[in-house]
């Protein structure tokens, strides 16, 4: 019989830097997850990706066991890299901080397709475009 999910927690954290302090401690300790074991494995599996935000999606089951998979970087990180900006606009939509092309949107959508809840590439592109606008990035052809 398949295990039953209790919850799913996605941690958006720096590769190789997991430790029991917030956000990891409060996010996982309440579910009875062995924090040190998680941190050790996450850091080992992301050791060659220093400087990147590498999300970990942790599936926690009703029997107390858990497993996790590494995900593609958040769309916002990929968009900032594509636009060549350090951060999104604090005043979006009033303030535009940079531009991304539709081709870049498509490339990011293709990369993140497997992690997005989208039926097809067009749907994935619409999600990425929404994130871009929320960050104050202008989309150009």
């Amino acid at each position: 019989m398949a295990k039953k999910l209790k919850t799913v927690v996605r941690l958006q954290i720096q590769a190789g830097k997991a430790n029991p302090a917030p956000p990891i401690g409060p996010a996982l300790a309440g579910h009875g997850i062995n924090l040190m074991a998680f941190c050790k494995e996450y850091n080992a599996r992301t050791a060659n990706r220093a400087g990147e935000v590498v999300p970990a999606e942790i599936s926690i089951y009703t029997d107390g066991s858990f497993t996790f998979v590494l995900k593609t970087p958040p769309a916002s990180i990929l968009l900032k890299k594509a636009a060549g900006v350090e951060k999104g606009s604090a005043l979006s939509p009033r303030e535009k901080v940079g531009k991304v092309t539709r081709q870049q949107i498509k490339e990011i959508a293709e990369l993140k397709m497997k992690d997005l809840n989208a039926i097809d590439l067009e749907g994935a592109m619409r999600q990425i475009e929404g994130t871009a606008r929320n960050m104050g990035l202008q989309i150009v052809d």
């Binding site: 999910l5 927690v9 996605r10 958006q12 302090a21 956000p23 929404g130």
Partner: protein
């Protein structure tokens, strides 16, 4: 270092979650969490995330807190002009020894049909199952990791096909390469193996495996030693072959062990269980095993991890 934190959280739909996480991450460089709020148990074999998501981050409660909080609220307000957002919820969090706090919420893990992993600080709540006493605070082989769980399930399946102890389990011996905490050897003995050999290159692991064996009431049938495949083949231990051999290590090490002669430890028609393999490494391992005459009998998957059962 701060002793207090301010948790900021918002419950939003899936489309907004990443945009909100991006805003929070600007002020909380340690990271952001996105957590499901509801699981549909019938959504798929194991359940499916449905409904809104909770996005949260933690700001250190220091002299910059109010300034950060004000800027964060401003950024959320602007985001809310694109799509309406709920008000953020705030909660003060006291510094805790998180590396220990999880134990209060830990629950024993039932594995397969007969086993349950129970930490030292807890009574066995499932008396119908065979308890394996292992402290999950240790760094390896604790039974909380998918590779160990998959391995235990595979060992149990094989053990249950062997006639009961009262009949003829005299042929059921077991070799555990890279035994770590000794959990697999302990499980094999509790499932009826007459003799088990656990070897590890780490002297500390061998010592801990001995302590765990004693904590599990194993007083005979278990031999532990420093070494690996080569030392076993050199006859340094009482067992040099077995019908069930297990290696729960990492794929590159497993591939090397084939070249060291791991296949020679398995008797004809015997079983080799390999775990610690990431899904994308499976073909490399099956390719290496095929060169030494092993064929894939079963494959178990949990998350990114795969456990292979092979026969020769």
């Amino acid at each position: 270092m701060t002793n207090k934190w301010l948790e900021i959280s918002l419950i939003v739909d899936g489309e907004l979650a990443e945009a909100v996480a991006e805003v929070l991450a600007r002020f909380a460089p340690e990271g952001v969490i996105i957590e499901s709020t509801r699981i549909d148990p019938n959504g798929s074999p194991e359940g499916k995330v449905v409904g809104p998501l909770r996005v949260a981050a933690y700001l250190p409660d220091d002299e910059q807190l109010e300034e950060k909080r004000s800027k964060l609220e401003e950024a959320l307000w602007y985001l809310g002009r694109i799509r309406p957002l709920p008000h953020p919820q705030y909660q003060k969090i006291e510094q805790t020894d998180w590396s220990q706090a999880w134990k209060e919420h830990y629950q024993p893990i039932a594995i397969g049909k007969k086993l349950v992993i129970v930490p030292a600080w807890m009574d066995n709540p499932m008396p119908a199952r065979i308890p394996i006493r292992i402290d999950p605070g240790m760094a390896f082989g604790t039974g909380t990791h998918p590779t160990t769980q998959l391995c235990l399930e595979a060992i149990e399946e094989i053990a249950l096909t062997i006639p009961s102890r009262d009949e003829a389990k005299t042929d059921f011996t077991f070799i555990d390469i890279g035994c770590g905490s000794g959990i697999l050897s302990i499980a094999a003995l509790k499932l009826g193996a007459l003799q088990a050999l656990g070897v590890d290159l780490d002297e500390q692991a061998v010592k801990i495996a001995g302590e765990n064996a004693r904590a599990n009431g194993i007083t005979q049938g278990l031999e532990l030693g420093i070494g690996s495949v080569k030392e076993i083949l050199q006859g340094k231990f009482s067992l040099s072959k077995a019908p069930l051999v297990v290696a729960n290590i990492l794929a590159p090490v497993i591939i090397q062990l084939f070249d060291d002669g791991m296949g020679d430890l398995v008797i004809p028609d015997g079983v080799l269980i390999l775990s610690g393999i990431l899904a994308e490494q499976t073909s490399q391992v099956t390719s290496a095993s095929g060169k030494y005459g092993f064929r894939l009998e079963n494959k178990k998957i949990q998350g990114d991890w795969v456990c292979l059962t092979l026969k020769c």
